[in-house]
Structure formats: structure tokens, C-alpha cells
Subunit: 147 residues, 2 copies
């Protein structure tokens, strides 16, 4: 079961400038930052609200850290904007398997590491009406609220 909008992933050219825009304009503070070497991105998570499944909803800002990363290529083509959306679930393995059986292409054979030690996978946007869609299981309930 998918129980929340976990985050909206937004690709940007400069993470610090964009995070400052979100802080100054809306009051959203950076909750967490990290570099995901595998994905080739530096990320900032801005926590927007808590959700009734015990998790949170975030804006995730993504800056490429190398020109061959998928986000760098995406930015070259599209410019800044919404890159993907993510739904939270308690069991990303089971959800990915069930959705894959329905004929939607799941991009990773096994879930990989996402922000804040979550486990993530992606669904092919061409199978999802143009929306790159991520499934996320948080590391632990406290990981979404405590650091």
C-alpha cells in the first residue's frame, strides 16, 4: 500500500541558490542534505508537513554533481522543474513487485539507497502517463521526523 506523497523531486542548477529561494519565499528550511554518488546528485530535503501514516512530505531539491548523471541530462533537455514524484510505502519490495506484475516497468531489479537511508525504486515514466514515479520506504519512522 502506498500511504503518502513522500516527496516532489525538483531538479535545479544550483542547490544552495534554490534552497535559499524556498526558504526566503516560503519559509521552508533545509532538513537534510547529502550527496548520492550512485545517482550523481547532491540533494536537499525540505520537510513540509507530517502525514497520517507517521511519515512526512518533503520537497527534494536535486543538483547534478557530474555531467553524465541522469539529472544533468534531464536539466540539459528540460531546464529546471519537477523531475519526479515519490509515494511512501512500508514495503517498497512488495509494492515494486506487485506494480511490476501489472506491466509497469520497474527501473531497478532491487531497491537502492535513497535520501536519509531510505530504500527506493523508480517506475518508467512512459508507463506512468509521463510521470517519473518513485516508491520509497523510509529507514525508520524516526528517520522521517528526528534528524
Amino acid at each position: 500500500m502506498l500511504t503518502r506523497i513522500d516527496h516532489i523531486g525538483i531538479a535545479c542548477f544550483d542547490l544552495d541558490t534554490t534552497a535559499e529561494f524556498y526558504r526566503a519565499t516560503y519559509g521552508f528550511e533545509v532538513f537534510h542534505t547529502e550527496v548520492n554518488e550512485e545517482q550523481g546528485v547532491r540533494e536537499a530535503m525540505l520537510r513540509i508537513n507530517g502525514t497520517d501514516d507517521g511519515g512526512s512530505s518533503y520537497i527534494q531539491l536535486l543538483e547534478p554533481v557530474r555531467p553524465d548523471s541522469t539529472v544533468a541530462k534531464w536539466l540539459d533537455k528540460n531546464g529546471e522543474g519537477v523531475h519526479h514524484i515519490a509515494f511512501g510505502t512500508a514495503d517498497v519490495d512488495a509494492e515494486a513487485a506487485a506494480i511490476g506484475e501489472k506491466g509497469v516497468r520497474v527501473l531497478y531489479e532491487e531497491p537502492r539507497r535513497g535520501s536519509m537511508d531510505s530504500r527506493i525504486t523508480f517506475l518508467h515514466p512512459k508507463d506512468c502517463h509521463g510521470v517519473l514515479t518513485e516508491l520509497v520506504t523510509s529507514a525508520s519512522p524516526s528517520a522521517t521526523t528526528d534528524h
Copy 2:
């Protein structure tokens, strides 16, 4: 104050087909549908989760009902995908005024009617790092959960 991710607006060619994809793939049911003549769209709201400000987060599917609507033109250019994101607030008038004073272009002089009798305005995507951003005040707390 902006207190939640209210919705993610997704433009699609066929509302019924896309809503059925979201139901069959993820289990998300249609919570509400309406036509917004002013915006030139037919909308379906899929409620994903409750939020800790007493509201909800939705996926909003948008199908143009006339070829000159902004969503029709957007689809011609981009194909299906994420069209905008929306933050919820108790006071869209005050938020729009405060954000406008920071130099972000607010697209409506006064908030207009959005889904489920909400009051909405939009911020210019070029002032928001490429993201068309909506601000929403729900009609009433119960309107986000009761019908």
C-alpha cells in the same frame, strides 16, 4: 504560512484512462471530479493522505476541455506529466501578497476558485526555478476530508 503539500497537478490527455491507471496501479481512488470552465479543465482529485495541519494531499489529474486552455497548450508542448505543484495555507490572500512583495510574480490579482471550492492563485514558474507553483486555501477543513 504554507503548511502542506496540497496536491501535485498532472496533465493528461484522457482523465478517465489516467484515473483508472492510478486506481489499478496504486490503489488510489477518485475522491472528487469537477469541470473548471474558467481554467478549461476537467479535474479528478485522488486523496493520498491526511496532513498534520488538518488537510490532505492529493494527486490532481487535469484534462483540457478546450484546445485554447493553458493545459491543452502545455500538453501540446510537453506531453503528459507534472504540470504544477500546490502548497496549502490557511490564508491564500496573505501568502500571495507576502510572496508578491518578495518579487515573485503572482498570476492572479485576486485568488480564484479552485477544486472543491478552494481559493487558489499561481506563482510564475520563471520566478520559481521552473516550477509552476499554486497556493491553495481549502473551502473548509471538512472540505478536504468529508466529500
